[in-house]
């Protein structure tokens, strides 16, 4: 069952595609940000899956355990999660300001207002 043993990676691919699709296709800016979050989360799972050592314990030093999982990807992803939250926060803040300025958060509706915006 090699396909099933790569379950994490299948989850990564599915989530990545859902997030990416959502970001490209959705006109609603909040949905774009949600897509962005799903997309980033899939990469976090990719990193963390790579850190798992089969049979390894949680990486906290203690008696009677010889094999530990690799803690480095967790630490890296902790940083990446912070980056992701900051991105979401900035994105939401911009969406609030766009809503105040245009009265809409739909890409197409705003495009209709700003006809000459795209040159």
């Amino acid at each position: 069952m090699t396909v099933l043993s790569f379950f994490n990676y299948w989850a990564v691919i599915v989530l990545m595609m859902i997030g990416y699709y959502c970001m490209i296709v959705r006109g609603n800016m909040i949905k774009k940000i949600i897509g962005l979050g799903i997309f980033q989360t899939s990469v976090f799972i990719l990193f963390i899956s790579a850190g798992k050592v089969i049979g390894g314990a949680t990486p906290v030093l203690r008696e009677g355990v010889d094999v530990y999982s690799n803690p480095l990807p967790h630490v890296l992803i902790l940083t990446a999660i912070v980056v992701g939250i900051a991105t979401t926060a900035v994105g939401l803040a911009l969406t609030v300001r766009i809503r105040e300025a245009y009265g809409s958060i739909d890409d197409d509706a705003i495009d209709a207002v700003e006809g000459d915006d795209r040159a």
Partner: protein, 495 residues
């Protein structure tokens, strides 16, 4: 020698520490002063660093005394130092210019504005100096997030939209880079660039390595605004505050190009990068597409800043074209144009910023006859434009000369023809501005416009003078660019 190794990390640390302090400072003068002083200090340190690495030395600083590859390492050779000098230099010249313009465009809460500016610059410098691939990702996001905030400070409400769209595309780019880094880490178990460079050649070439390279190149191509991934750039540069447009145009895309080159040439071997993927052909097609589409769209614009933004897309094309030749001469031309284009675009956006400030508009139809009202500003624009077109004796001529020589050396005469055609297109869009500003009469109902104060003209003319200086005395630019290219190739064979 060792003292500069200890001082070199402060190029990043000074703006990074000054940023949060700046956010707490009240009023207008103090935040500006702190920003200017810290960038000037970083500029002096960058100059010292470049002097120290000019003869092929590599400086290495281990953060927290954790020896690399375990700890984070700042690793500086001629390529990093050259880019850092451009960023800090342009920022140091533009900040004195930008003060009254920021007063007009961002009247309130300048403390947080300058804080974002410092953090964005710290991020760009961090990407430039670090020797750790995960650190590149973190600094890329630090600078990008600050940049989104800065663009949204523009007075036009479309600045918000530009910032949002840049946020979406920029985050996709950065996440692509992160995916690439994940594959590299899975393959080798290390994140240090020098360590990756020694481990990757002995790793069995696999699909995963190919995918890593592909994700990294595409992710950085978005940040680089390489055609056809440039859609975020024109609106972002057009609606951002003038100081931000000038700074971003001179530095942000350059840093992305530098990191891409660091990955293609140093982390992966050039022998692998250019054979595992058809990078040379792909980069050449995108570069030529950018040169033509960018120049063509620049000719069609009615907004001065947007015209300059599309011209930037074209100029990125020249740099990438140099890279796509896969020769030392081509890489040198790319680094040379990276530096020279920073100088000319800073001068052009700076004079456009003065027009925007004095005239209240950067639409070409509002600029009719303005050359007689603001002769110094428009002359500076025209002279920087001469450098953009590539007429001797300017820096733009030197970089085109080296690019054309590299293409000839490679036996690709047709590229020379295409470079000349796009240069003529640059002549058209610059000449159009000059014609509107000088030859057309000022409409009778147009508001009176005054020339900017000389204290603002000095930095602009300093940049224009640099364009001519580096068109005549090329020791720093050509010397630095060829040292940078050699440092990246590092004696490895090019395919």
């Amino acid at each position: 020698m060792s003292s500069i190794t200890e001082l070199m990390p402060f190029i990043v640390l000074i703006p990074l520490i000054a940023g949060p302090i700046c956010a707490l400072l009240p009023g207008r003068a103090l935040p500006w002063l702190l920003t200017t002083v810290s960038m000037a200090t970083a500029f002096v340190l960058s100059a010292m660093t470049l002097a120290a690495v000019f003869d092929g030395v590599t400086l290495s600083y281990a953060f927290g005394n954790w020896a690399p590859p375990v700890g984070i390492e700042y690793r500086v050779d001629a390529a990093n130092a050259f880019v850092a000098l451009l960023i800090t230099g342009v920022a140091s010249v533009l900040l004195p210019w930008g003060r009254p313009i920021v007063d007009a465009e961002v009247p309130e809460r300048q403390g947080s504005f300058y804080a974002l500016l410092l953090i964005a610059l710290a991020g760009l410098l961090g990407i430039t100096l670090t020797g750790d691939v995960f650190n590149v990702f973190v600094f890329l996001e630090i600078s990008s997030l600050a940049t989104y905030g800065l663009i949204a400070h523009g007075r036009d409400r479309r600045a918000l939209l530009a910032a949002f769209r840049y946020l979406i595309m920029g985050t996709v780019g950065a996440t692509f880079l992160l995916i690439g880094i994940a594959f590299l880490y899975i393959l080798t178990g290390t994140l240090n660039m020098a360590d990756l460079a020694t481990r990757l050649p002995s790793t069995e070439a696999s699909r995963a390595m190919q995918v890593a390279l592909g994700f990294i190149v595409v992710g950085l191509a978005i940040k680089l605004a390489l055609f056809p991934l440039h859609h975020w750039l024109p609106n972002a540069y057009t609606y951002a505050p003038s100081l931000i447009s000038a700074l971003l145009a001179a530095t942000a895309t350059k840093v992305a190009l530098y990191v891409m080159l660091r990955f293609i040439y140093d982390v992966f071997e050039p022998g692998y990068s250019f054979t595992a993927l058809p990078l040379s052909a792909a980069l050449m097609v995108m570069a030529l597409g950018g040169m033509f589409a960018g120049s063509w769209l620049a000719m069609m614009q009615t907004n001065l800043k947007r015209m300059l933004a599309y011209s930037s897309v074209a100029q990125v094309g020249y740099m990438v074209l140099g890279v796509s030749l896969v020769t030392l001469a081509g890489l040198t031309a790319a680094f040379l144009h990276l530096f020279n284009h920073g100088l000319m675009k800073a001068a052009l956006f700076a004079s456009a910023g003065l027009v925007a400030w004095r005239c209240g508009s950067v639409r070409l139809e509002d600029m009719r006859g303005i050359g007689r009202e603001m002769p110094w500003t428009l002359t500076a624009f025209a002279l920087a434009g001469v450098s953009l077109i590539g007429i001797p004796p300017t820096a733009g001529f030197i970089s085109k000369w080296y690019l054309i020589s590299a293409a000839m050396e490679d036996g690709q005469i047709w590229l020379v023809v295409l470079i000349l055609i796009t240069s003529l297109m640059a002549l058209v869009y610059i000449a159009r501005v000059v014609e509107i500003a000088w030859l057309q009469p000022r409409p009778d109902d147009a508001p009176a416009v005054q020339e900017a104060h000389w204290t603002l003209l000095v930095p602009v003319w300093l940049l224009v003078a640099a364009n001519f200086w580096f068109g005549i005395d090329t020791r720093l630019t050509v010397g630095g660019a060829s040292m940078a290219a050699e440092a990246l190739v590092g004696g490895r064979l090019l395919p």
